[in-house]
Symmetry: C2
Subunit: 146 residues, 2 copies
DNA sequence: TTGAGTGCAAAAGCTTTGCATTCGT
DNA sequence: ACGAATGCAAAGCTTTTGCACTCAA
């Protein structure tokens, strides 16, 4: 996320307004590495804005996401997807049609984790997900909604 | 997923019964690399079992998941999580308390994609997710539900 | 026979939407 | 002043649950 001043400018440039609620959301997100949910942000805001609604939080986050100012840590598979192949492999997701293809490559030696983190965590598994566009979707204008 | 015969045995060994519906689900999943959703499986089954219910599909898939016979391609973050840090980095998720920590490592040169896939897709992004347990959770018996 | 599974409908949980009111510019 | 944002409540969707009935073993 950009610095708040820049963010404010980006919003205004788009004709979006800066409200106290939005500003408060910006501040909560600034230098925040706790990967909060909308609910958590909402909770935090309640102190200063007892009347704020979850809907407002979601709406603002949606704008930030569209602007590329926050990243969603949950992939827009519309719903749960099940993979009967439990051998170690990874996936490439077409962000256009949501097709998922398997990638059978062993990355286990390629992915070094900082030793500081290794000390704190016991890592049991990992997954790599690639995102892109298949040929068909590359030639489309519009992708699936959502 | 194991071969169907083995799967049947695993189910019976656990006191779980083999019903036509379950068998049909097994068959749909066998050698299936389309990463289907419960809905899609349900849809497929409708032909042969017009009365089958989505609930049955979900329930069977849950068992398969618990048995490690299928893998879920959607992470159990309980809800959306937002990351204001859009610089390229990756995540480690503690499967006990769901804490998410950042991993700042550049894996872009480490992750080779089969050329056959590179021909078919334009890859725009990727993410690496590690799973494990933090020290606290390692010493716990029970983790967060779900 | 009997405990497990099915299928229906209802509930649950997260997220989005509609709308009247309020507010930023 | 006027379009945008807010906050509430309702709706939407996916997934789960409860329960009477049915069925596999």
């Amino acid at each position: 996320m950009e610095k708040i001043n820049k963010l404010i400018k980006s919003f205004r440039d788009k004709g979006l307004k800066i409200t106290p609620q939005r500003l408060a959301i910006f501040k909560i997100l600034e230098n925040n590495n706790s990967h909060p949910s909308a609910e958590q942000i909402y909770h935090n805001l309640k102190r200063g804005y007892p009347t704020i609604s979850l809907a407002t939080v979601y709406k603002t986050l949606e704008i930030l996401e569209e602007m590329g100012e926050v990243k969603l840590l949950k992939i827009n598979y519309d719903r749960k997807r099940y993979d009967p192949d439990c051998s170690p492999h990874h996936h490439l997701i077409c962000v256009g049609c949501r097709k998922i293809v398997d990638i059978f490559e062993d990355y286990s030696n390629a992915l070094k984790v900082p030793s500081q983190i290794k000390d704190e965590f016991t890592i049991t598994d990992f997954r790599v997900e690639f995102f892109g566009l298949c040929k068909k979707c590359k030639n489309k204008r519009k992708f699936k909604e959502k």
